[in-house]
Protein backbone atom coordinates (compact mmCIF):
# COMPACT_ATOMS: atom_id res chain seq x y z
CA UNK A 1 0.00 0.00 0.00
CA UNK A 2 1.01 3.51 -0.64
CA UNK A 3 0.02 4.87 2.75
CA UNK A 4 2.68 6.89 4.48
CA UNK A 5 5.20 6.52 1.70
CA UNK A 6 6.85 9.66 0.46
CA UNK A 7 7.77 10.57 -3.10
CA UNK A 8 11.33 9.36 -2.63
CA UNK A 9 10.13 5.99 -1.41
CA UNK A 10 7.77 5.78 -4.38
CA UNK A 11 10.67 6.33 -6.69
CA UNK A 12 12.78 3.75 -4.87
CA UNK A 13 9.94 1.23 -4.95
CA UNK A 14 9.56 1.77 -8.67
CA UNK A 15 13.26 1.15 -9.22
CA UNK A 16 13.13 -1.92 -7.01
CA UNK A 17 10.15 -3.28 -8.94
CA UNK A 18 11.89 -2.68 -12.24
CA UNK A 19 15.05 -4.36 -10.98
CA UNK A 20 13.12 -7.36 -9.62
CA UNK A 21 11.17 -7.77 -12.87
CA UNK A 22 14.47 -8.06 -14.72
CA UNK A 23 15.16 -11.12 -12.60
CA UNK A 24 11.77 -12.64 -13.22
CA UNK A 25 10.18 -11.58 -9.97
CA UNK A 26 6.78 -9.93 -10.32
CA UNK A 27 5.78 -7.52 -7.59
CA UNK A 28 2.73 -5.34 -7.22
CA UNK A 29 0.74 -3.42 -4.65
CA UNK A 30 -2.81 -3.87 -3.51
CA UNK A 31 -3.62 -0.48 -4.94
CA UNK A 32 -2.26 -1.33 -8.36
CA UNK A 33 -4.01 -4.67 -8.42
CA UNK A 34 -7.28 -3.17 -7.22
CA UNK A 35 -7.22 -0.33 -9.73
CA UNK A 36 -6.08 -2.64 -12.54
CA UNK A 37 -9.10 -4.81 -11.91
CA UNK A 38 -11.48 -1.88 -11.67
CA UNK A 39 -10.30 -0.03 -14.73
CA UNK A 40 -10.62 -3.10 -16.93
CA UNK A 41 -14.17 -3.98 -15.95
CA UNK A 42 -16.07 -0.72 -16.06
CA UNK A 43 -19.62 -1.70 -16.88
CA UNK A 44 -21.63 1.10 -18.45
CA UNK A 45 -25.35 1.62 -18.02
CA UNK A 46 -27.62 0.84 -20.97
CA UNK A 47 -28.69 4.40 -21.37
CA UNK A 48 -28.90 6.58 -24.47
CA UNK A 49 -30.57 9.91 -25.06
CA UNK A 50 -30.11 10.95 -28.68
CA UNK A 51 -27.89 10.65 -31.73
CA UNK A 52 -24.75 10.32 -29.56
CA UNK A 53 -26.24 7.05 -28.32
CA UNK A 54 -26.00 5.69 -31.88
CA UNK A 55 -22.27 6.40 -31.85
CA UNK A 56 -22.05 4.82 -28.42
CA UNK A 57 -23.77 1.68 -29.76
CA UNK A 58 -21.40 1.66 -32.75
CA UNK A 59 -18.49 1.85 -30.31
CA UNK A 60 -19.61 -1.35 -28.66
CA UNK A 61 -19.97 -3.22 -31.95
CA UNK A 62 -17.33 -5.29 -33.70
CA UNK A 63 -15.66 -2.53 -35.68
CA UNK A 64 -14.68 -0.36 -32.69
CA UNK A 65 -15.13 -3.09 -30.10
CA UNK A 66 -15.28 -1.51 -26.68
CA UNK A 67 -14.92 -5.06 -25.35
CA UNK A 68 -11.15 -4.63 -25.79
CA UNK A 69 -11.35 -2.34 -22.76
CA UNK A 70 -13.53 -4.60 -20.67
CA UNK A 71 -16.57 -2.36 -21.01
CA UNK A 72 -18.78 -4.33 -23.35
CA UNK A 73 -21.22 -5.44 -20.68
CA UNK A 74 -23.83 -2.70 -20.81
CA UNK A 75 -26.00 -3.33 -17.78
CA UNK A 76 -29.73 -2.78 -17.99
CA UNK A 77 -29.92 -1.82 -14.33
CA UNK A 78 -28.17 1.09 -12.62
CA UNK A 79 -27.58 -1.21 -9.63
CA UNK A 80 -25.06 -3.17 -11.67
CA UNK A 81 -23.44 -0.29 -13.56
CA UNK A 82 -20.21 1.56 -12.82
CA UNK A 83 -20.44 4.19 -15.53
CA UNK A 84 -23.20 6.31 -16.98
CA UNK A 85 -22.50 7.68 -20.45
CA UNK A 86 -24.77 10.69 -20.87
CA UNK A 87 -25.04 10.38 -24.63
CA UNK A 88 -27.20 13.13 -26.04
CA UNK A 89 -29.39 16.09 -25.28
CA UNK A 90 -30.71 16.13 -21.73
CA UNK A 91 -34.11 17.76 -21.73
CA UNK A 92 -35.24 19.45 -18.57
CA UNK A 93 -38.03 16.91 -18.39
CA UNK A 94 -35.45 14.08 -18.52
CA UNK A 95 -32.87 15.62 -16.18
CA UNK A 96 -34.45 14.39 -12.89
CA UNK A 97 -34.49 10.84 -14.28
CA UNK A 98 -30.80 11.05 -15.24
CA UNK A 99 -29.90 12.21 -11.73
CA UNK A 100 -32.09 9.49 -10.23
CA UNK A 101 -30.36 6.81 -12.32
CA UNK A 102 -26.99 8.15 -11.22
CA UNK A 103 -28.11 8.05 -7.59
CA UNK A 104 -29.16 4.43 -7.97
CA UNK A 105 -25.70 3.34 -9.13
CA UNK A 106 -23.39 1.88 -6.50
CA UNK A 107 -20.04 3.47 -5.72
CA UNK A 108 -17.51 3.78 -7.22
CA UNK A 109 -19.34 5.34 -10.14
CA UNK A 110 -18.26 7.49 -13.03
CA UNK A 111 -19.87 9.80 -15.56
CA UNK A 112 -18.89 10.49 -19.16
CA UNK A 113 -20.69 13.47 -20.71
CA UNK A 114 -20.70 12.59 -24.38
CA UNK A 115 -21.16 15.26 -27.01
CA UNK A 116 -21.91 18.96 -27.20
CA UNK A 117 -25.44 18.59 -25.78
CA UNK A 118 -24.48 16.63 -22.68
CA UNK A 119 -21.68 19.03 -21.82
CA UNK A 120 -23.39 22.33 -22.59
CA UNK A 121 -26.74 21.94 -24.32
CA UNK A 122 -24.98 22.09 -27.68
CA UNK A 123 -26.91 23.39 -30.69
CA UNK A 124 -30.12 23.18 -28.65
CA UNK A 125 -28.73 25.26 -25.79
CA UNK A 126 -31.32 28.01 -26.21
CA UNK A 127 -34.20 25.58 -26.48
CA UNK A 128 -36.97 26.02 -23.94
CA UNK A 129 -36.65 22.48 -22.61
CA UNK A 130 -32.90 21.82 -22.85
CA UNK A 131 -30.59 21.42 -19.89
CA UNK A 132 -27.38 23.35 -20.48
CA UNK A 133 -25.08 20.53 -19.45
CA UNK A 134 -25.53 17.55 -17.13
CA UNK A 135 -22.62 18.78 -14.98
CA UNK A 136 -25.14 21.12 -13.36
CA UNK A 137 -26.48 18.20 -11.34
CA UNK A 138 -23.97 15.35 -11.25
CA UNK A 139 -20.16 15.31 -11.20
CA UNK A 140 -18.75 14.54 -14.66
CA UNK A 141 -15.43 12.70 -14.94
CA UNK A 142 -14.77 13.03 -18.66
CA UNK A 143 -16.28 15.52 -21.12
CA UNK A 144 -16.20 14.64 -24.83
CA UNK A 145 -16.76 17.46 -27.30
CA UNK A 146 -18.19 16.72 -30.73
CA UNK A 147 -21.54 16.57 -32.45
CA UNK A 148 -21.71 13.64 -32.28
CA UNK A 149 -18.24 12.50 -31.20
CA UNK A 150 -16.87 9.67 -33.29
CA UNK A 151 -16.44 6.24 -31.66
CA UNK A 152 -12.71 6.91 -31.47
CA UNK A 153 -13.48 9.94 -29.29
CA UNK A 154 -15.59 7.82 -26.96
CA UNK A 155 -12.79 5.25 -26.78
CA UNK A 156 -10.35 8.05 -26.00
CA UNK A 157 -12.67 9.28 -23.24
CA UNK A 158 -12.90 5.75 -21.96
CA UNK A 159 -9.11 5.41 -21.88
CA UNK A 160 -8.94 8.77 -20.10
CA UNK A 161 -11.32 7.39 -17.50
CA UNK A 162 -9.18 4.26 -17.18
CA UNK A 163 -6.11 6.40 -16.55
CA UNK A 164 -8.07 8.36 -13.97
CA UNK A 165 -9.13 5.17 -12.18
CA UNK A 166 -5.59 3.81 -12.38
CA UNK A 167 -4.20 6.93 -10.72
CA UNK A 168 -6.63 6.88 -7.82
CA UNK A 169 -5.02 6.46 -4.41
CA UNK A 170 -6.92 4.32 -1.97
CA UNK A 171 -5.67 6.10 1.13
CA UNK A 172 -4.60 9.56 2.09
CA UNK A 173 -6.06 12.96 1.46
CA UNK A 174 -6.20 12.54 -2.33
CA UNK A 175 -8.37 9.45 -2.27
CA UNK A 176 -11.44 9.57 -4.53
CA UNK A 177 -14.90 10.60 -3.50
CA UNK A 178 -16.26 7.12 -2.92
CA UNK A 179 -13.62 6.49 -0.25
CA UNK A 180 -14.39 9.68 1.63
CA UNK A 181 -17.27 8.95 3.94
CA UNK A 182 -18.33 12.56 4.42
CA UNK A 183 -18.75 13.21 0.69
CA UNK A 184 -22.13 12.48 -0.89
CA UNK A 185 -22.79 9.53 -3.15
CA UNK A 186 -26.22 10.77 -4.11
CA UNK A 187 -27.18 14.18 -5.37
CA UNK A 188 -30.48 16.04 -5.04
CA UNK A 189 -32.95 15.26 -7.81
CA UNK A 190 -34.27 18.54 -9.26
CA UNK A 191 -37.98 19.19 -9.04
CA UNK A 192 -40.25 20.34 -11.85
CA UNK A 193 -40.90 24.01 -11.17
CA UNK A 194 -43.41 26.42 -12.65
CA UNK A 195 -40.86 28.03 -14.97
CA UNK A 196 -37.70 25.92 -14.72
CA UNK A 197 -36.19 23.04 -12.83
CA UNK A 198 -35.87 23.72 -9.10
CA UNK A 199 -33.06 24.33 -8.39
CA UNK A 200 -31.65 25.21 -11.85
CA UNK A 201 -28.30 23.72 -10.81
CA UNK A 202 -26.57 22.10 -7.87
CA UNK A 203 -24.04 24.66 -6.68
CA UNK A 204 -22.03 21.96 -4.88
CA UNK A 205 -21.36 20.12 -8.12
CA UNK A 206 -21.43 22.80 -10.76
CA UNK A 207 -18.35 24.96 -11.12
CA UNK A 208 -18.79 27.05 -14.24
CA UNK A 209 -15.86 28.92 -15.67
CA UNK A 210 -15.97 32.55 -14.67
CA UNK A 211 -15.69 35.15 -17.40
CA UNK A 212 -13.44 37.93 -16.23
CA UNK A 213 -14.11 41.22 -17.96
CA UNK A 214 -11.42 43.87 -17.81
Amino acid sequence: MRAGLGGVMDEELKNLKAELSKHGVFTTTFEELYNWGRKNSVWPLTFGLACCAIEMIATTMARYDLARFGAEVFRASPRQADLIIVSGTVTKKMAPQVVRLYNQMPEPKYVIAMGACAISGGPFRDGYNVLKGIDRYIPVDVHIPGCPPRPEALIDAFMTLQKKIDAQQLTGEDRPRHLKEDLPSEFPVPEYGEHDLEPPNNAEVWNPLKVIQK
Binding site: K92, K93, Y128, Y192, P208, V211, Q213
Partner: protein
Protein backbone atom coordinates in the same frame (compact mmCIF):
# COMPACT_ATOMS: atom_id res chain seq x y z
CA UNK B 1 -54.96 10.77 -64.64
CA UNK B 2 -54.99 12.95 -61.59
CA UNK B 3 -57.95 15.17 -61.04
CA UNK B 4 -57.62 18.93 -61.17
CA UNK B 5 -56.61 20.36 -57.80
CA UNK B 6 -59.51 21.68 -55.83
CA UNK B 7 -59.36 25.39 -55.11
CA UNK B 8 -59.97 26.97 -51.74
CA UNK B 9 -62.92 28.85 -53.21
CA UNK B 10 -64.55 25.57 -54.25
CA UNK B 11 -64.06 24.08 -50.82
CA UNK B 12 -65.46 27.21 -49.20
CA UNK B 13 -68.56 27.05 -51.41
CA UNK B 14 -69.00 23.35 -50.68
CA UNK B 15 -68.76 23.87 -46.92
CA UNK B 16 -71.16 26.81 -46.92
CA UNK B 17 -73.68 24.83 -48.96
CA UNK B 18 -73.45 21.79 -46.72
CA UNK B 19 -73.23 23.48 -43.31
CA UNK B 20 -75.83 26.20 -43.04
CA UNK B 21 -74.67 29.29 -41.20
CA UNK B 22 -71.00 28.39 -41.43
CA UNK B 23 -68.78 31.38 -42.09
CA UNK B 24 -65.71 30.44 -44.09
CA UNK B 25 -63.08 32.98 -45.00
CA UNK B 26 -60.45 32.34 -47.64
CA UNK B 27 -57.00 33.50 -46.59
CA UNK B 28 -54.96 34.03 -49.74
CA UNK B 29 -51.35 32.99 -49.89
CA UNK B 30 -49.49 35.30 -52.25
CA UNK B 31 -46.41 33.10 -52.56
CA UNK B 32 -45.79 30.97 -55.70
CA UNK B 33 -47.06 27.88 -53.89
CA UNK B 34 -50.46 29.56 -53.65
CA UNK B 35 -51.59 27.39 -50.79
CA UNK B 36 -54.66 29.35 -49.78
CA UNK B 37 -56.28 28.42 -46.53
CA UNK B 38 -59.76 28.51 -45.03
CA UNK B 39 -60.61 30.14 -41.73
CA UNK B 40 -63.51 28.41 -40.00
CA UNK B 41 -65.74 29.92 -37.35
CA UNK B 42 -65.80 28.21 -33.96
CA UNK B 43 -69.45 27.18 -33.81
CA UNK B 44 -69.50 25.25 -37.07
CA UNK B 45 -65.88 24.11 -37.22
CA UNK B 46 -66.49 20.53 -36.07
CA UNK B 47 -69.45 20.14 -38.39
CA UNK B 48 -67.52 21.60 -41.32
CA UNK B 49 -64.57 19.34 -40.53
CA UNK B 50 -66.83 16.30 -40.50
CA UNK B 51 -68.19 17.38 -43.88
CA UNK B 52 -64.66 17.75 -45.28
CA UNK B 53 -63.84 14.26 -44.07
CA UNK B 54 -67.03 12.53 -45.25
CA UNK B 55 -67.98 14.37 -48.43
CA UNK B 56 -67.62 11.87 -51.30
CA UNK B 57 -65.78 14.29 -53.59
CA UNK B 58 -63.48 15.81 -50.96
CA UNK B 59 -62.88 12.81 -48.62
CA UNK B 60 -60.16 14.59 -46.64
CA UNK B 61 -59.58 11.51 -44.53
CA UNK B 62 -56.10 12.35 -43.30
CA UNK B 63 -55.01 15.21 -41.05
CA UNK B 64 -51.28 15.11 -41.57
CA UNK B 65 -50.34 18.00 -39.36
CA UNK B 66 -51.77 20.47 -36.92
CA UNK B 67 -49.73 23.33 -35.59
CA UNK B 68 -50.05 26.63 -33.80
CA UNK B 69 -49.17 30.18 -34.69
CA UNK B 70 -48.81 33.11 -32.32
CA UNK B 71 -49.75 36.48 -33.75
CA UNK B 72 -48.70 39.37 -31.54
CA UNK B 73 -50.56 42.66 -31.29
CA UNK B 74 -49.54 44.58 -34.37
CA UNK B 75 -49.95 48.01 -35.84
CA UNK B 76 -51.17 48.39 -39.36
CA UNK B 77 -50.10 51.64 -41.00
CA UNK B 78 -51.57 52.73 -44.31
CA UNK B 79 -51.20 55.93 -46.22
CA UNK B 80 -54.47 57.75 -46.71
CA UNK B 81 -55.10 60.91 -48.69
CA UNK B 82 -57.08 63.37 -46.61
CA UNK B 83 -58.42 66.78 -47.65
CA UNK B 84 -57.31 69.44 -45.22
CA UNK B 85 -57.43 73.17 -44.94
CA UNK B 86 -53.90 74.43 -45.25
CA UNK B 87 -53.52 78.25 -45.17
CA UNK B 88 -57.16 78.68 -46.07
CA UNK B 89 -56.95 76.52 -49.18
CA UNK B 90 -58.20 72.97 -49.35
CA UNK B 91 -55.38 70.65 -50.31
CA UNK B 92 -54.86 66.92 -50.36
CA UNK B 93 -52.43 65.77 -47.71
CA UNK B 94 -51.10 62.25 -47.27
CA UNK B 95 -51.55 60.96 -43.78
CA UNK B 96 -50.38 57.74 -42.23
CA UNK B 97 -53.27 56.14 -40.46
CA UNK B 98 -52.35 53.58 -37.85
CA UNK B 99 -54.75 50.94 -36.69
CA UNK B 100 -54.02 48.52 -33.91
CA UNK B 101 -54.65 44.89 -34.74
CA UNK B 102 -55.08 42.81 -31.58
CA UNK B 103 -53.07 39.60 -31.43
CA UNK B 104 -54.52 36.13 -31.47
CA UNK B 105 -53.52 32.49 -31.51
CA UNK B 106 -54.14 30.25 -34.46
CA UNK B 107 -54.38 26.53 -35.09
CA UNK B 108 -53.57 25.31 -38.60
CA UNK B 109 -54.59 21.88 -39.91
CA UNK B 110 -53.21 20.32 -43.09
CA UNK B 111 -55.71 17.91 -44.61
CA UNK B 112 -55.15 15.37 -47.35
CA UNK B 113 -57.23 12.68 -48.99
CA UNK B 114 -55.53 9.32 -49.16
CA UNK B 115 -58.51 7.91 -51.00
CA UNK B 116 -58.77 10.66 -53.64
CA UNK B 117 -55.03 11.44 -53.66
CA UNK B 118 -55.47 15.17 -53.30
CA UNK B 119 -54.57 17.87 -50.86
CA UNK B 120 -53.53 19.70 -48.92
CA UNK B 121 -56.57 21.66 -47.87
CA UNK B 122 -55.46 24.01 -45.12
CA UNK B 123 -57.92 24.91 -42.41
CA UNK B 124 -57.33 27.52 -39.74
CA UNK B 125 -59.09 28.63 -36.60
CA UNK B 126 -58.32 31.76 -34.63
CA UNK B 127 -58.85 32.62 -30.97
CA UNK B 128 -60.37 35.87 -29.82
CA UNK B 129 -57.17 37.12 -28.20
CA UNK B 130 -53.97 35.85 -26.58
CA UNK B 131 -54.98 36.07 -22.91
CA UNK B 132 -58.52 35.10 -21.92
CA UNK B 133 -60.37 34.01 -25.02
CA UNK B 134 -57.96 31.26 -26.04
CA UNK B 135 -60.53 28.56 -26.67
CA UNK B 136 -60.94 26.68 -29.94
CA UNK B 137 -63.11 23.66 -30.75
CA UNK B 138 -61.16 20.42 -30.88
CA UNK B 139 -61.11 18.52 -34.17
CA UNK B 140 -59.81 15.33 -32.53
CA UNK B 141 -63.30 13.88 -32.80
CA UNK B 142 -63.04 14.16 -36.58
CA UNK B 143 -59.39 13.28 -37.11
CA UNK B 144 -57.92 11.14 -34.35
CA UNK B 145 -54.42 12.07 -35.54
CA UNK B 146 -55.01 15.59 -34.24
CA UNK B 147 -55.07 14.42 -30.62
CA UNK B 148 -51.38 14.71 -29.80
CA UNK B 149 -50.91 17.67 -32.12
CA UNK B 150 -53.64 19.62 -30.35
CA UNK B 151 -52.03 18.69 -27.05
CA UNK B 152 -48.75 20.05 -28.38
CA UNK B 153 -50.44 23.30 -29.45
CA UNK B 154 -51.99 23.54 -25.98
CA UNK B 155 -48.61 22.84 -24.39
CA UNK B 156 -46.54 25.30 -26.39
CA UNK B 157 -49.04 28.04 -27.31
CA UNK B 158 -51.73 27.81 -24.64
CA UNK B 159 -54.69 27.23 -26.92
CA UNK B 160 -57.44 25.40 -25.02
CA UNK B 161 -59.24 22.90 -27.24
CA UNK B 162 -62.81 22.42 -26.08
CA UNK B 163 -63.95 18.83 -26.45
CA UNK B 164 -60.44 17.36 -26.52
CA UNK B 165 -60.50 13.95 -24.79
CA UNK B 166 -57.20 14.32 -22.92
CA UNK B 167 -55.87 17.87 -22.93
CA UNK B 168 -52.66 17.63 -20.91
CA UNK B 169 -49.21 19.01 -21.51
CA UNK B 170 -47.27 16.86 -23.94
CA UNK B 171 -43.64 18.00 -24.06
CA UNK B 172 -43.32 20.08 -20.91
CA UNK B 173 -44.09 18.80 -17.43
CA UNK B 174 -47.52 19.25 -15.89
CA UNK B 175 -46.36 21.81 -13.32
CA UNK B 176 -44.98 24.11 -16.03
CA UNK B 177 -46.88 27.39 -16.27
CA UNK B 178 -45.53 29.13 -19.40
CA UNK B 179 -46.11 28.63 -23.11
CA UNK B 180 -42.63 28.46 -24.60
CA UNK B 181 -43.45 28.88 -28.29
CA UNK B 182 -45.27 32.16 -27.75
CA UNK B 183 -43.32 35.05 -29.18
CA UNK B 184 -43.24 36.93 -25.88
CA UNK B 185 -41.97 33.93 -23.90
CA UNK B 186 -38.94 34.78 -21.80
CA UNK B 187 -36.81 31.76 -20.85
CA UNK B 188 -35.55 31.58 -17.26
CA UNK B 189 -32.41 33.62 -16.69
CA UNK B 190 -29.21 31.63 -16.67
CA UNK B 191 -26.05 32.99 -15.12
CA UNK B 192 -23.93 30.85 -17.42
CA UNK B 193 -25.20 32.60 -20.52
CA UNK B 194 -22.34 34.58 -21.96
CA UNK B 195 -24.42 36.53 -24.44
CA UNK B 196 -26.74 39.31 -23.34
CA UNK B 197 -27.00 38.39 -19.70
CA UNK B 198 -25.42 40.47 -16.99
CA UNK B 199 -22.82 38.48 -15.20
CA UNK B 200 -22.40 38.78 -11.48
CA UNK B 201 -18.93 39.28 -10.12
CA UNK B 202 -17.52 39.94 -13.59
Amino acid sequence: MRAEPITAEQVKAAIEAAVPGCRVQVLANASPSGQHSLILDHEHAAEAARFLRDDPTLRLDYCSNATGVDWLDSELSEKVKVKKLVDGAETEVEEVRKTKVPGYLEAVYHLYSVEKKHGPVIVRMRTGDRKEDVHLPSLTGVWRSAEFQEREIFDLYGVIFDGHPDLRRLLMWDEFKDYPMRKDYVPPADDDDLVGAERSGG
